[in-house]
Symmetry: C2
């Protein structure tokens, strides 16, 4: 592992200057500090603070995800993470990330600069600069619903979509449905691809050939329903499974606009079990992701990575919750 002296030699500057750069002293230029930090990261230098993890500071970096109140997807995930972290005496900072931040510092530099021993990334996409850098990071990092190949420092936490979707298809088949549509979330998301495949597998397992006309990618917002529900209805769907509860609310609204009733004419199933699922009228049958447990598990995984237990994937069970939005065909 590189020392402060190695960094000084490489840059041809004094050890004291390197030390100032690493410790954020104000009497060197910003450019020099950045150069020192970037070089330190490149050379695999880990500060004593990071190595001994005395500070025990980790962060949740969050982007493209609502988390400010309990109605929103990220809220309980953060609560769960903090609960587990507190029990092990770790300090957690919640940091909203954005593109500017990601262009200012490399991921590893940002983490080193702020003395974080690890991070949990929420809502990032594969297009984000920092996610692109994760193939090579040495900072213990956990991603929700995203997987990075061949890097022992990065782990993936999520919910087992296969089992969740299979439970939902089971339920619809037991109610007599065969014309089952699936309105997915955004394309180019790992979790959407997984759910697409899980839906196809489960339909085949239940002896129903999935129909291309009844499968579509949308977005994780209610509004995407209007682009796809008319086509589903035209093609004889009697049930519509959705990749989120928010999508399901949009689907129900759209079905009603067509003069049809939920569940008498069309059954609808959500995903996540956000508070809206039980509050909506009709209340929404859904596949629950336990967000408190996702947060707790993310911390467990991160704690493992920090202690060199190279966990790759940690998946939680999905729970099927039956409510009013599904009925006999």
């Amino acid at each position: 592992m590189a020392t402060i002296k190695d960094i000084a030699n490489k840059l041809g500057i004094a050890v004291s200057t390197v030390s100032k750069g690493l410790n954020g002293a104000s009497d060197i230029s910003d450019e020099m500090r950045q150069l020192v930090l970037d070089t330190a990261v490149e050379m695999g230098y880990a500060s004593k603070k990071m190595r001994t993890a005395n500070t025990r500071k980790v962060c949740i970096l969050i982007e493209n995800m609502d988390y400010e109140n309990v109605e929103q997807f990220g809220y309980e995930i953060i609560v769960g993470f903090k609960l587990s972290a507190a029990r092990r005496h770790w300090e957690v900072s919640v940091v909203p990330a954005n593109l500017t931040m990601q262009s200012l510092d490399k991921y590893d530099t940002y983490m080193l600069k702020n003395g974080y021993s690890g991070a949990f990334l929420l809502g990032f996409t594969l297009h984000d600069d920092w996610v692109k850098q994760l193939g090579k990071t040495t900072v213990p990092t956990v991603l929700l619903d995203n997987y990075i190949e061949r890097n022992n420092h990065v782990g993936y936490v999520g919910t087992d979509s296969d089992e969740g979707i299979d439970l939902a298809v089971d339920h619809l088949r037991s109610l007599g449905h065969t014309r089952i549509a699936f309105l997915n979330g955004s394309k180019n998301s790992m979790v959407s691809e997984q759910r697409h495949q899980a839906f196809i597998n489960s339909m085949m397992k239940h002896g129903v050939e999935p129909d291309e006309k009844l499968m579509a990618y949308g977005y994780y917002v209610p509004d995407c329903a209007k682009d796809h529900v008319p086509g589903f209805i035209e093609n004889g769907a009697t049930a519509i499974m959705c990749a989120s509860d928010l999508i399901a609310t949009g689907v129900i609204t759209e079905v009603v606009k067509h003069g049809l009733r939920v569940p008498e004419d069309i059954s609808v199933i959500g995903f996540d079990d956000l508070p809206i699922a039980s509050q909506f009228v009709p209340s929404i049958t859904t596949i629950r992701q336990d967000r408190i447990d996702l947060g707790k598990s993310a911390f467990l995984l991160l704690d493992g990575l920090i202690h060199n237990v190279t966990i790759s994937k940690l998946l939680l069970r999905a729970k099927f919750i039956q409510r009013e939005s599904t009925g006999r065909t």
Copy 2:
């Protein structure tokens, strides 16, 4: 949750008799004790000991797996599990299981009787009585390399075969091999099926059509090599990947018997990185499963299940270890 009184009512016996049955008192008959225990389990009774987890006792049940010395597969798994358990002040019993034991008591009864809050099952197969009962168990249970559907009390820990096998195929392709054979472990094992699929996927990804004549199921012992290596050689294999290091030792012996050299004529890759892999001549290139980490992770998972965090799967990274048994074609 059922109480001692509920059990007494159901059986039409005194509360004191139930209590004796549950606490292993000697002044009731064995038959009565068994009846009390079985009824308690059926009715979902959990003893106060189990509920409050005051005793903090878990067990490792082990079958069909060598673990007595450091050369053997199970040894470090148990060490890792105990390390993690000790840190959280849990007591661990290692219990060799066998068919008789499994026929004497139901799984849940055995666990209740012995006051274990959870178990880690090693080496069990899907045919075992106790594994068959896991679909309905309420005892927190972790399985190595086996998955039970739709039960929130059971989790699966293992190594990510996909990535491990992909790293090995990468290596062989970079050495110019296209005629790559795969000698798998026993059929009807979940992990063998996974590795079979992982091998096919990785070969396709590397632009090589897998050849049925170069893929076979054997057993997890060196001796199975003699049944398959001659066929592989006949069909032009220049490299043989194996589902364990023990199989790889058998394969190397068999290749040499045919007057061929490893790696000059045929490259061989193992799986696991048991001590034998580095000690063998030639030393064996392999896909490492970190068994200490498997044990640690199994405990993390079990601890999660005991605290109602319903983890379904926890997979570790595989590490590729290059040694002398592979070379250019």
